[in-house]
Amino acid sequence: MDYSKQIQDIAAKLFTDGKIDVFVGYRMNGFDDNQVPAVITDPKEVSTLVFTEKSVFNLSNYLKADHTRNKRVGLVVKGCDSRSLNLLLTESQVKRDKLYIIGIACEGVVDDKGQKVQNCMECIIPDAVVYDEILGTPKGKKDYIVNADIKALAEKGLVERREYFEEIFENCIRCNACRNSCPLCYCTKCCIDQETATIYNGSNTSSSAFHALMTWSLHLAGRCVDCRNCEKACPSHLPLHLLHKQNEKVIFGNFQNHLAGVEEGDRGAFYKYSLKDPDDFIM
């Protein structure tokens, strides 16, 4: 999967045609073979753009930044990224006519060791769902697989699970990198930063981590597209996908196989209902 040449050509053409002001892609980080996001405004820099299986980040996160706001943007999206972009379009955060989207029929990205990452192994929709032109051959939808970690956790006992998650919350340093790296967390004022309860929530304690991570994952439930930008950003390498995948599993299983951001105009599982939703747990 190497589309560097095609993306450079398309970006150069868009700049000469005057269709875009900014191009958001990937470039090499200059130290090793890993890549970093590149926000390009100068057409001369187009030759630095690359796209290989090391292009891990979700670039739709950069649409909420100041350097792309109210500008015409060219953007590279993989399957999962395009789903989050679809949600941003539905939630009126970006305008479709200001975007030129290069979709990728993704074959999965790899980690530092060259191994395919877990969310690509379990990927359901590898092709971009919203695009102006698509690179690669679309492979279509795959079957839903329940995450292996969630399966393993569900077999453990209550006490064991509690201990496991308590350790996760203790290791959290409350840097909010997960929230800031999430393309769907665009509120200017977040409820987990509320001022009235700084005695609990402002500090770096496991209590505040419990509050922040749980609230964050529940506010993303039914919208999370499993791009795992949060996990890549986490300095403590916490397994944040556990919280999101659990919600995704419950939502897919109970609410008519709902998957976030696949259909245009779909705002998420919590914005609609069915009369047949399970309520046997309610007294």
């Binding site: 609990y200 659990q246 419950v250 919590f270 209902y273 007294m283």
Partner: protein
């Protein structure tokens, strides 16, 4: 009528924690204005007894209950949470409780995975005419939470001894 606490109650999620002898469970009740709150009012005016461990908060509709409220209650003081709204189809705002029902299921399953007993957070539909049912529900929730023991959710940092 207050829930009786026998000696040596341990937290079910953290068996090394033993409740102090004077421990009484605190339950946060979030009730919808139109059905459950009126139902609890009827319980009172009918002179039916129910445990006083519940602290009631009134909200306009059960769909006003953000999962955040539950997390915050568990984080700070509550040992259990009871959320109650109108029966499906009876919502004052026509479909509020259908939306709420989806969120409740996801919240319940997530808390279960993170290591909370499923009886910590309970849900019920209570209409304005069901005063007796409300008393029963509160009694059941209180008994369940007494069996589970104190939550002790990282409280040691916030309220140091």
């Amino acid at each position: 009528m207050e829930a009786e606490v026998k000696d040596k109650i341990v937290s079910i999620e953290k068996p090394e924690l033993v409740a102090p002898p004077d421990w009484k469970p605190v339950i946060m009740g979030i009730l919808c204005n139109w059905c459950s709150y009126a139902g609890s009012d009827l319980t009172g005016t009918s002179r039916m007894q129910y445990p006083p461990n519940i602290r009631i908060i009134r909200v306009p509709c059960s769909s006003r209950v953000d999962p955040w409220f539950i997390i915050k209650a568990l984080q700070t003081t509550a040992d259990g949470v009871l959320i109650s709204g109108c029966h499906p189809g009876d919502c004052h705002y026509i479909s509020g409780n259908y939306y709420a029902r989806r969120r409740f299921l996801v919240t319940k399953e997530l808390l279960k995975m993170v290591g909370f007993h499923e009886h910590r957070v309970q849900y019920s539909w209570v209409s304005a005419a069901e005063g007796a049912k409300f008393a029963q529900v509160v009694k059941k929730v209180t008994e369940d939470v007494v069996k589970l023991g104190p939550l002790h959710l990282y409280k040691k940092e916030n309220f140091s001894k």
